[in-house]
C-alpha cells in the first residue's frame, strides 16, 4: 500500500476507546522471506496481550518493528492515532524525521531476551542513563528515579553492582527498571525469561505481574510460558507465518482452540513439558 495515498485527515485523533496501537497492513520482508504478512492488529490502552507461536512466526519481529528496531516494508503503525514511522506533510504521509520517531519511541519500552544491560555501568547507572541523557533529568533526579525503580523490582541492595555481578534474573529485573525509567505507556517483553534458568523465571514474572496489576501500562509479551500467558493476559494471539491465525481470551484460545495450527502448536508445547 503506497503511503502517499493515505490521507492524513482520515486519521482519527485519539479518543477514549481508540486503540493505543493500531497496525494496518504491516508487512516485513527479508529478501524473499515474509516475516510479517499484511498484519492488522489493534491494542487497547492497558491491555495485556500475550503473543505465542512457533519460532520464525514473526512474534519477535512484531515487537522489533513496534520498537522501530526494524523498518517495515508496508503498512502503517499508529500510536494514539499518529503514524509512528511516518508523519503527515501537507496531507501526505512521508517517512518520519528522527525527532518525530524519537518522540513516538519514548512511549514504548522494551525488555530483551538477553537483557542487553550496559556492562560498563552499575545497575543504577544503567537505569539512570536514558532519563538523564534523553529526558534531560538532572543526574540527581535520574538517580532518584532509578533507585526507586530498582527498589520496586526488589534490587535496592544492588544499586552499585555491575551486570556481571548479578544473576540472570536480577539482570532482567534491572532491564525492566531501565525500560520503565522512561515512563513508557507501552511495554514490550520479548521472551524475557527464555535465557533464564527455570528457578529464576519466577522473580521476573512476579515483577511483570505486579507491573500489570499496579500500573497503567499496555503490555505486549512474546512468551513461551503458556501458564503465565494464560494467567496474565487479557488476550492471547497465536502467530504463524507472519499472521495472527487465531486470537481470543486465554480461556478460549487455550481451552478450545479453533484453528488446526493452534491445536497442533499447543499440543506440541504441552507435550514438551
Amino acid at each position: 500500500m503506497p503511503h502517499s495515498n493515505i490521507n492524513a485527515s482520515s486519521i482519527k485523533s485519539a479518543v477514549i476507546g481508540d486503540p493505543i496501537l493500531r497496525l494496518r497492513g504491516v508487512s516485513k520482508r527479508y529478501d524473499k522471506l515474509t516475516v510479517l504478512d499484511n498484519l492488522d492488529m489493534d491494542i487497547e490502552a492497558n491491555e495485556k496481550v500475550a503473543i505465542i507461536g512457533p519460532s520464525g512466526s514473526g512474534k519477535s519481529t512484531l515487537l522489533r518493528v513496534l520498537m522501530m528496531l526494524e523498518e517495515i516494508d508496508d503498512g502503517v503503525i499508529e500510536l494514539d492515532g499518529e503514524p509512528l514511522t511516518h508523519m503527515s506533510v501537507n496531507g501526505a504521509l512521508v517517512p518520519a524525521s528522527a525527532s518525530h520517531r524519537s518522540k513516538g519511541r519514548r512511549n514504548i519500552g522494551m525488555v530483551f531476551q538477553n537483557f542487553n544491560l550496559f556492562p560498563h555501568m552499575t545497575a543504577l547507572q544503567n537505569v539512570a542513563q536514558a532519563p538523564n541523557k534523553v529526558l534531560g533529568l538532572s543526574q540527581q533526579e535520574a538517580n532518584k528515579r532509578a533507585s526507586e525503580l530498582l527498589d520496586m523490582v526488589g534490587l535496592s541492595d544492588k544499586l552499585a553492582h555491575f551486570p556481571s555481578q548479578l544473576s540472570g534474573g536480577q539482570q532482567q529485573r534491572v532491564a525492566i527498571a531501565r525500560a520503565l525509567a522512561m515512563r513508557p505507556r507501552v511495554m514490550l517483553f520479548d521472551e524475557v525469561t527464555s535465557a533464564l534458568d527455570p528457578e529464576l523465571c519466577g522473580e521476573v514474572l512476579n515483577v511483570i505481574r505486579r507491573l500489570g496489576s499496579e500500573h497503567q501500562l499496555t503490555m505486549l509479551m512474546v512468551t513461551h510460558q503458556m501458564g503465565f500467558a494464560r494467567e496474565f493476559a487479557d488476550r492471547v494471539c497465536f502467530f504463524s507465518e507472519g499472521k495472527i491465525v487465531e486470537q481470543g481470551t486465554p480461556e478460549a484460545l487455550f481451552g478450545a482452540p479453533a484453528h488446526e495450527r493452534t491445536q497442533a502448536f499447543l499440543r506440541a508445547v504441552t507435550e514438551a513439558i
Binding site: 522501530m68 528496531l69 519511541r105 519500552g109 530483551f112 538477553n114 550496559f118 555481578q165 525500560a179
Partner: protein, 221 residues
C-alpha cells in the same frame, strides 16, 4: 678525555643536555602525534563503518593506501612534494602530521575491530531507550569498544615512539638525529647512540607499564 675507554662517562654527561633537548622533541612529537592519531583513527573507523558508500569508500581507500606505503615515503611527500601544490609545512609540522596520519590508519583498524565487537544488542537497547546516535556512541558503544583495544593501542603508541627517528629524514632534529650529529662532530658514536638507545628503552618500558595500569583500571568487575 681518555680516548682509550670504550664509554667515556664525562663525555656522556657533557652531551646529555643537548640529547635531552632533542628527546623533548621526540616525546612531544609522540604525544601530539598519538593524540592526532587517536582522533583521526576514530574518525576514519566511523567513516569506514558508515552505511553511506560516499563516506566508507574514501575512508577505506585512505586507510589501505597509507598502510600499504612506507612512512618514509609519506613524509617525503608531505615535506618535499606538497609545497609544489602550495602546502608548505615546517619539518616538525610535516613530521608530526605524517606520523599521526600513518598511525591513525592503524588505530582506525583496531578501533573498527573494537566497535565491531560490541554486540548488536547494545545498540538495540540504547535505541529502545531513544538515545541519539551520538549518545549511543559516546556513552554506550565507545566505552565498551575501547576497553579491549587498549593493549593494541598501547603497542602502537610505543611503535610510533620508536618510529620517530624516521622524521630525521626530513630534517626534524629529534633524539636520533641529534645523537648522529654529535657523533659526526666528535667522532665518538658510542656515547650518543648508547644514550639515545637507553632513552628509548626507558621511555618504552615506562609507557608499557602505564598502559598496563590503565588496562587494569578500566577492567570491569
Amino acid at each position: 678525555m681518555n680516548g682509550a675507554t670504550l664509554f667515556d662517562t664525562q663525555f656522556a654527561l657533557q652531551i646529555m643536555p643537548a640529547l635531552l633537548r632533542a628527546a623533548v622533541y621526540t616525546v612531544g612529537i609522540t604525544i601530539a602525534g598519538f593524540a592526532l592519531a587517536l582522533v583521526g583513527g576514530l574518525v576514519l573507523a566511523l567513516l569506514r563503518r558508515s552505511r553511506s558508500r560516499l563516506l566508507s569508500w574514501p575512508a577505506t581507500g585512505v586507510i589501505e593506501f597509507v598502510r600499504s606505503t612506507p612512512l618514509l615515503i609519506q613524509l617525503y611527500f608531505l615535506f618535499y612534494v606538497m609545497p609544489e601544490f602550495g602546502l608548505t609545512l615546517s619539518a616538525l609540522a610535516a613530521g608530526t602530521l605524517g606520523i599521526a596520519l600513518h598511525y591513525a590508519c592503524y588505530v582506525a583498524e583496531v578501533v573498527r575491530a573494537g566497535l565491531n565487537a560490541v554486540p548488536r544488542g547494545q545498540w538495540e537497547a540504547a535505541s529502545a531507550l531513544s538515545m541519539s546516535p551520538w549518545d549511543v556512541y559516546r556513552n554506550i558503544v565507545l566505552p565498551q569498544a575501547i576497553r579491549p583495544i587498549v593493549p593494541a593501542l598501547g603497542n602502537y603508541l610505543v611503535a610510533m615512539f620508536k618510529d620517530t627517528p624516521v622524521l630525521s629524514a626530513i630534517t626534524v632534529v629529534e633524539l636520533m638525529l641529534q645523537a648522529k650529529n654529535i657523533g659526526s662532530q666528535s667522532f665518538r658514536y658510542v656515547e650518543p647512540i648508547t644514550l639515545a638507545g637507553l632513552f628509548f628503552l626507558i621511555i618504552s618500558i615506562f609507557v608499557s607499564l602505564l598502559v598496563r595500569k590503565l588496562e587494569a583500571r578500566l577492567r570491569l568487575p
